[in-house]
Symmetry: C2
Subunit: 445 residues, 2 copies
Amino acid sequence: MRLSRYLLPTLKETPAEAQIVSHRLMLRAGMIRQEAAGIYAWLPLGLQVLRKIERIVREEMQRAGALELLMPTLQLADLWRESGRYDAYGPEMLRIRDRNERELLYGPTNEEMVTEIFRANVRSYRDLPMNLYHVQWKFRDEQRPRFGVLRGREFLMKDAYSFDLDEAAARRSYQRMFVAYLRMFSRMGLTAIPMRAETGPIGGDLSHEFIVLADTGESDVYCDRQLLELPVPDDQVDYEGDLAALIAPWTQPYAATEDVHDAERFEREVAAERRLHTRGIEVGQIFYFGTKYAEPMKALITGPDGVERPIHGGSYGVGVSRLVGAIIEACHDERGIVWPDAVAPFQVGLINLQQGNLDTDAACETLYARLTQAGIEVLYDDTGARAGGKFATMDLIGLPWQLAVGPRELKHGQVELKRRATDERSVLTLDDAMAALLDARPRRD
Amino acid sequence: MRLSRYLLPTLKETPAEAQIVSHRLMLRAGMIRQEAAGIYAWLPLGLQVLRKIERIVREEMQRAGALELLMPTLQLADLWRESGRYDAYGPEMLRIRDRNERELLYGPTNEEMVTEIFRANVRSYRDLPMNLYHVQWKFRDEQRPRFGVLRGREFLMKDAYSFDLDEAAARRSYQRMFVAYLRMFSRMGLTAIPMRAETGPIGGDLSHEFIVLADTGESDVYCDRQLLELPVPDDQVDYEGDLAALIAPWTQPYAATEDVHDAERFEREVAAERRLHTRGIEVGQIFYFGTKYAEPMKALITGPDGVERPIHGGSYGVGVSRLVGAIIEACHDERGIVWPDAVAPFQVGLINLQQGNLDTDAACETLYARLTQAGIEVLYDDTGARAGGKFATMDLIGLPWQLAVGPRELKHGQVELKRRATDERSVLTLDDAMAALLDARPRRD
């Protein structure tokens, strides 16, 4: 993409309304624009990151055997009356009347609707286990939307729902999602720690939050440092097999958010030098809630014994738009964003240090064509801005690699390649720079 | 995908509520489920088609130089007061109040919001032409939602918006979209005829509807048969060049929907044997509306002369979810859907005629693995259903190819390959069947 044909409205000033770093950087990098309190438009750069995250989420859901469908944003209030949640849900639910005075709502979550879809279409235990997921916009009418996309009102979420014949099978479905979550966050370049959590309005008796550690996080978290070093299951994980042994090292060490923190147990179980008290951002939560929805909504399945029984369910959320902010909270420095390779909007920022110079123009065109041809996403700054401004913009938007083409190095057939994360620079021939970038292409896990 | 692990709730009976064939077939093929009047959930098979259509739309928009962003579903009422459309828009606009009594609406279209984004971020003629598009869910509160996804209330739409310094440049932007539309519908396997149209609530003085011809269409259309034979611009089209000559053959012959039909002109201009009177379904509409939004909303650009002036705009819609229904209206027979290759949810339906037979099971597993490995999307019917039922299901869901593996042919090392569209069958060795399917892979244009 040529910057001259792109829409990248970066800001030099820090927007006054933004209280946290990810919100400030998303506004400064021209990723989003607020359209109403807690409601954002995603400008091209922001959308590209959102799509990368979505793709990783989908790939890991599919790998774990989940099926994608797509439920609408609006739902009938009557559906929520079946589960009893219509009245229980507070003012965060956006309630709507259509032209015929029919009561609708903008879905904040989809347990009811997916249970309705399941009960209408699945009858036999032979179809189980089943896990249905979608990636859709949701709405929660927060009293005080803030922190940009970290606590917006309209937000993009992946939510999955598992259906099983009994509790033992449902726990295996839960474990599959547990492993899929470890993998997806790790692929995004995040250290996300699963922590025992309260179940809140979703209900049930088993839940984990996945928390990204970041100094600027929203809540205090306490955990055993050994969790930071645990290897994440690789792409050969057998989701049909027994995952208990893979999960045990993640669930045994102490890890808790402030809501459920037990200081006494923390000190008893974790040696002083391994105690970590920091802050974190929740990026996903998984629940096993048994028959909470199946019973009132009569989602029944006939087992091998011919007896009908309510299915055992779980639900599994990932805040897709929230992750964009969470990744920035975890990956930035004083100059701007430092995208992990897998979610970067472009891999390479190609900087023409003297636009209009025949040599640098020609070298840039060659590099742009060769990189694009090789399937590497490049943002080519072909504008007339000054070199200092171009470097500052690239640092701000945080592409993993910067390739700078200036007349001085080019006399010797060389360009400068910089790794954004480490500031490491090397002066290389065009061919060597190409080879280095080809080599660094993010592996598709 | 193994059918035993898929969610494909096909129906034998024709649902009573569905009045038109695409609605009936989408319900019978388990593609959608109605969640409220005019509001549908997309089950896995339907979603796969929707995604294929989306991808073609995106590819052609990018090819034509448009930039993707994503605007939210909800908008502030105040934004629509700026253009004067808030009060002008009728009861089809879904109006909402949030918990703080702020007036919102579920966007039926996005001229106001994109104009707001443009005016906040673009100042100079050097950034033009610019075309911003998104693919997002929209809502129109139809009084009588019907015909399934052809006239739903919550629907997926691609809408693009062009910004130019003057009318001449804006007309070139319009032409780029005109060509992109010809290409995208053609790639979906559709014959879509551009027809001069009224501009309605979007406004402006130039508009074309793109109409798919189908006997079961919603409106009468009249056109010159030569339009059916015109070649569509290929993928080498130069969007930077002058497109007028490419477009002229499409705009000169007579073509009109009933709203603007002029019977006298039709008879005068079109020889009797070339007069076509049939029915059609609108799948896209493009508008040039000049400064209609830019003036009241003060979207101004400084030209090369230093003078600020309101930009000239156009908007360009494609009914993405509507297209799923429109394609079925155009592509079906008495047994079910007949998907064009490019939008088929899977390319091949692999039918094990005797599940449990060691030979057919083994041959199917081999074929399934080889096809999948080759990047061909296969739905493998590995269920215990009877052969007749399996063939009927495959005919109903309309995959382009059926590959049937039965014990009788398999004794001679053979399988039966059927083309759904023509009913042509051949008995081939496994290797020859593989080769035929590899050969038939849809070209990515």
